[in-house]
Amino acid sequence: MNENPLPSIIPDKEWKKIQRMLSKRSLWMIHFCTGCGAMEMPPVMTSRYDMERFGIIPMATPRQADLLLVTGYVATKTLKRIVRVYEQMQDPKYVIAFGSCPINGGIYWDSYNIIKRLDKYIPVDMYIAGCMPRPEAIMDAFLKLMKDIDEGKANGWMRYRKYYDQYRRNQMRIFKRWDE
Amino acid sequence: MIRPVLLIALPLFFAFLSPIIGIWSKKGVRYLIIFATALNATLAGILLLEALQKPVFDIIGGFQPPLGIVLMVGPLGAIIAFIINLVAFAISIYNLKVEKEPIVRYSMLYLLLVMGSTGMVLTGDLFNLFVFLEVTSIASYGLAAYNKDKKGYLGAMKYVIIGSIGSTFVLLGIALIYSQLRTLNMLDIAARIGTMDPYVKIMAFTSLFLGFGVEAEMFPLNTWVPDAYDGAPHPISAAFASLPAKAGVFALARVIFTMFSFTNFLWFVVVMGLLTVFFGEIVAYTQKDLKRMLAYSSIGQMGMIIMGLGIGTTLAVEGAFYQMIAHALGKALLFIAAGFLIYAARSGKIEDMKGMARNPLIGIPLLIGALSIMGMPPFAGFYGKFFILMGGFSQGYYAIIALFLAASIVEVAYYARFIKIVFERGNESKVIRPDAATYVPLIILAIIIVVIGVYPKPILTVLQHVGTFIAGGA
């Protein structure tokens, strides 16, 4: 219901607020573990930190997910999968880049097949710096993202839609071909 | 009003006319046979109409029976004679295809075969029956070896051996009867059969039964059948199944019903019939050669007819006669078709005939023939089989009928195998079109089979007279 279902009762502004509230309280996450960092997720999910108290649960498919968590370095080959997964998610959708590598390449800064900045290819809403970031950092990121969503600042999906051509150009520079 | 003797005299006349015609036209001889058989069939048809009114007795040479020779034509005899001549006519059309020389002698023998078979059916005199049996047999021996190859000679040789032993048995039986009764007229014998010494009577019956059983392809006297059928030219195989066999089984019926009115011996005939069916069908299943398969199948069918005769109720004998007609038509059709298939495939083996019957002109008659032999409605074979079965049931022969049905399933199995192969797809290039001499007789026979199958009333009207036949009448 991206359009207001009952415009006569709920003002449009209120409706947007409701929508944001719902998105924030029910973030379904798909985590894309590229190579490292996945080990930090179990504590987040299990009894130590228990992300489910915020309504965040892991999902098996991007169709159901709102939040893409990219953990670790992104090889050019991986990037294509990430982009595909991202495009299969449904708006509104959010991305968290986890670790140093998606931010600036990290220790792979001079590698020939690792991309340096994930943000060039898909819009990232939240970064977690560190190599590796601790689960506390992840929880913090989740909370910050929730706050951003509430304030309407986490709008990477709108950016992606708006600057789709540029993102796509950046991607195609890496991929050469899309369908393999 | 025609005299039955014409049916015997005319083929004889044409048979001896054919060498004369053969002097200036070989082709003319072939057409002469067609003409002769057609004429004969027409006469037989007229005779049938007459015999339906009342039995026709034709006294030859003016001697009154029981001294003279008499032809005794009841409706049943007439219809069998009619069918024999009709089939002979159809086969004679197919004879146009026979290329083996000398055609003149072939034609002579063929007409003699027709004449002998017709005579066996029409005659009312036991010794005359023997004479016609001999004429038929000798013509058959000649025709069986006509291909002049090893198969033909061997087949003919076996036929000669078994056939002559059979004839001897017939002669023995005649001698026994004559020694006791001093007469050979069938009706006369029937009237005085009670005065015979029972042991001699059994012996006479056995001798005659076995003697005609050879022609009627009864187990275990049918050993000549596969070889002779296989070795003979195709039209002759067709003729064997339809002419002498039917005449033989009719003679058997005469022996059983007209002369010896047994009642306590009949179950034995049923058992013999069942054994014949059983061995015929089972061995047919094992055959890989088309003509041999058909020959064994023919044995099976004859066994069914013998069973029908042995059951001896009106219904069963009616069925047996219906089956004689159906089998004469159907088996002739199948042998003609087999001739074509062998010609087309250049081999006698069934497996080589893949797709050879895909031309409808050959395929549809072939199917009709096969289905009729299997006893499927609405073809001629259905009523015969059904009546025989029901007659059997009405006499309480449950076990025998059950065994018979089991054998019938075997029959269906091998016919289905054959049909599957000849209609198989994938050999289109080799399929050849039959010529008129092949498909015209096929279609004639097929149409008759369908007509008397769909509307059996005419035949059944004739066969109503079975009651009098069983009671010892003409």
Partner: protein, 606 residues
């Protein structure tokens, strides 16, 4: 109406049609459609115009046109009409022969339905049998023989039954069988022979092995075979049990909770058939074989109903036969349309055709609803009747087998739906078009009754009730929209209203927002690029289940038959050796025979 008109319209007209359409070349199916259409119109006009007649073609054929006959003819006629309509556009090879044989089979079927004496029954039965044989021969020559052998076996079993009756009564009329001439102890034999004979045509286990192969022939024919002709088995069993023998005679053999001991074993056989047919159907990959086994299973239900023999059970059996006629021929036609368009018949090789052939998909979907017994079609009601019949009499072996077989039906139904119509469309099928008009029309005709009789079951239950009352079985409890048994009931009007209202509600919730349509390759596969891999997961679909069943599936009735036939064929070759080919042996046979005859003769005399 006199005898000749009746016989002419229902038997001779198809026969004439058979003759005419042979020469119709490619228009043959159209000609055949017209001929069946004519007899269909008369069937409609003559409802209620019932009576008995005799035709004399040398033998007397006793024909009766009554409600039972009419009911079965209705299925037969509709099914063959739509099958032929379907074949108009299916570009068969040698269409003339096809139409001819179909009409011959139709004439035979009509004859069987009209016949009220054993001679005409057997005559038409065999006519139908061989015309089907030739139709099977047209495509699956390898297995036509198997069909024919079983067809002939069925005919011969019938002959045994008929013969025993004839021995005692001396008459072929159905009506004379009950005259009291037949001793009471003989009846079980007669009924067993007749029921097994008819049961073969219904493909009752263990006589079902012909069906999967025969059903792999041309689809319009198979639709008629499975939908139409297999009902003759049901008709025959019904006639022999409840018309020839009659319910009171059946009850006199002792009853087991109100069900005749003569019928109960056949109900068990039916339950076994339903179960085995269903289990085997689940594992088939060839769509034709799947439908064939499903057909076996479904006819098992009919057998159960006929065996139990309470009014509800027989009513259910009749209704189920009716439903099966329609949905199974619809399924076969649907499969035919798919095979016609794609040329494939393996489920695992198809996929996604529902998007290209939406109407075919819808029709097949309805057929599957009926098959699985979803209440949206009349398929539910017949199953309901059978269940209630078994449960209300507390049959604890029949009922669970029936119920679990019905769950198994979901499994193979979904296999058809998913494997053929859903999933991913293959690249080579990208350009597949919807089935041609006549095919769709044929399928539509078959679909309509399934839906109509689900909304208004009272109409068809009225006919069935009449059949039951006329044969003195009892009557059903029904009104126009509802039906009930001793232990329950249902009202279809309420069901439909509730269903439609709730569906509209769901639709309102659903329609509030538009959805974007994406390509089938835009599919989540862990980010992989889909076209590079085969993604239709239909191959060996129920593999886990198959693995668990493997120890049982090892035993096959098919193979048992093959062993049996091999054993006999081997014996035949042994017997053949008496024809040694040596004339001396032959002469010896003659001598032995002479001696044997003579001795037997003298012994008899003595």
């Amino acid at each position: 109406m006199d005898a000749l008109t009746l016989f002419g319209i229902f038997v001779l007209l198809p026969l004439v049609g058979a003759l005419v359409s042979y020469f119709g070349k490619k228009y043959a199916p159209i000609i055949a459609v017209i001929f069946t259409g004519i007899s269909g119109i008369f069937l409609y006009l003559w409802y209620g115009n019932f009576g008995s007649y005799t035709i004399d073609i040398g033998v007397k054929l006793n024909l009766t046109f009554d409600i039972t006959t009419w009911f079965f003819m209705l299925m037969m006629n509709t099914v063959i009409f739509s099958s032929l309509l379907f074949s108009v556009s299916s570009k068969l090879k040698r269409a003339g022969g096809f139409a001819t044989l179909m009409l011959l089979g139709f004439a035979g079927a009509n004859g069987v339905l009209l016949a009220r004496d054993f001679l005409s029954l057997y005559l038409f039965w065999e006519l139908m049998s061989w015309s089907i044989y030739l139709l099977v021969l047209r495509t699956s020559g390898e297995y036509a023989r198997r069909y024919l052998l079983f067809g002939v076996l069925s005919a011969y079993l019938l002959i045994m039954g008929i013969g025993i009756i004839y021995y005692y009564t001396g008459s072929f009329l159905y009506a004379d069988a009950l005259s009291g001439a037949i001793p009471h102890a003989i009846w079980p034999w007669i009924l067993t022979f007749l029921i097994l004979g008819f049961g073969i045509k219904m493909a009752i286990v263990p006589f079902h092995v012909w069906a999967p192969y025969a059903y792999s022939s041309e689809q319009p024919f198979v639709a008629f075979l499975s939908g139409g002709l297999s009902k003759l088995g049901a008709f025959g069993i019904f006639m022999s049990m409840y018309s020839i023998a009659g319910i009171s005679l059946l009850q006199s053999f002792g009853t087991f909770r109100g069900v005749s001991l003569m019928g109960y074993p056949f109900a068990l056989l039916g339950a076994a058939t339903a179960f085995i047919g269903t289990i085997l159907a689940i594992f088939q990959d060839d769509i034709r074989k799947l439908l064939a086994y499903s057909s076996i299973g479904q006819l098992g239900y009919v057998m159960i109903g006929l065996g139990l023999g309470t009014p509800l059970a027989i009513g259910g059996a009749m209704f189920h036969a009716f439903n099966h006629a329609f949905f199974k021929s619809l399924l076969f036609l649907g499969a035919g349309a798919v095979i016609y368009r794609t040329g494939k018949y393996k489920i695992s090789e198809m996929g996604g055709l529902g998007y290209r052939m939406p109407f075919t998909f819808m029709f097949v979907l309805f057929a599957i609803f009926a098959l699985a017994g979803i209440p949206l079609t009349s398929g539910f009601i017949s199953k309901w009747m059978l269940y209630e019949a078994a449960i209300s009499r507390k049959f604890v072996i029949v009922a669970p087998l029936m119920l679990i077989a019905s769950v198994g039906a979901y499994l193979y139904s979904y296999r058809i739906l998913y494997g053929v119509f859903l999933g991913q469309l293959k690249d080579e099928d990208k350009n597949v078009k919807e089935a041609p008009g006549p095919m769709l029309a044929a399928m539509f005709i078959l679909m309509v009754p399934l839906v109509i009789f689900s909304i208004v079951p009272g109409w068809i239950l009225g006919w069935i009730n009449k059949i039951l009352v006329e044969n003195g079985i009892g009557k059903l409890n029904y009104t126009t929209f509802s039906y009930s048994s001793a232990i329950g009931g249902a009202n279809m009007a309420v069901f439909w209203i509730a269903f439609i209202l709730l569906l509209i509600f769901a639709m309102l919730m659903f329609m509030a927002k538009k959805a974007r349509v994406v390509d089938q390759y835009d599919n989540y596969l862990a980010g992989e690029a889909p076209p590079s891999v085969a993604l239709h997961a239909a191959h060996n679909y129920y593999k886990p289940l198959r693995d668990t069943w493997a120890p049982l599936l090892k035993h096959s009735i098919d193979r048992a038959y093959e062993k049996f036939s091999k054993f006999f064929a081997g014996g035949f070759y042994e017997i053949k050796r008496i024809y040694t080919g040596n004339p001396q042996d032959y002469a010896a046979y003659l001598g032995i025979a002479f001696l044997a005859f003579l001795l037997v003769g003298w012994w008899l005399l003595w």
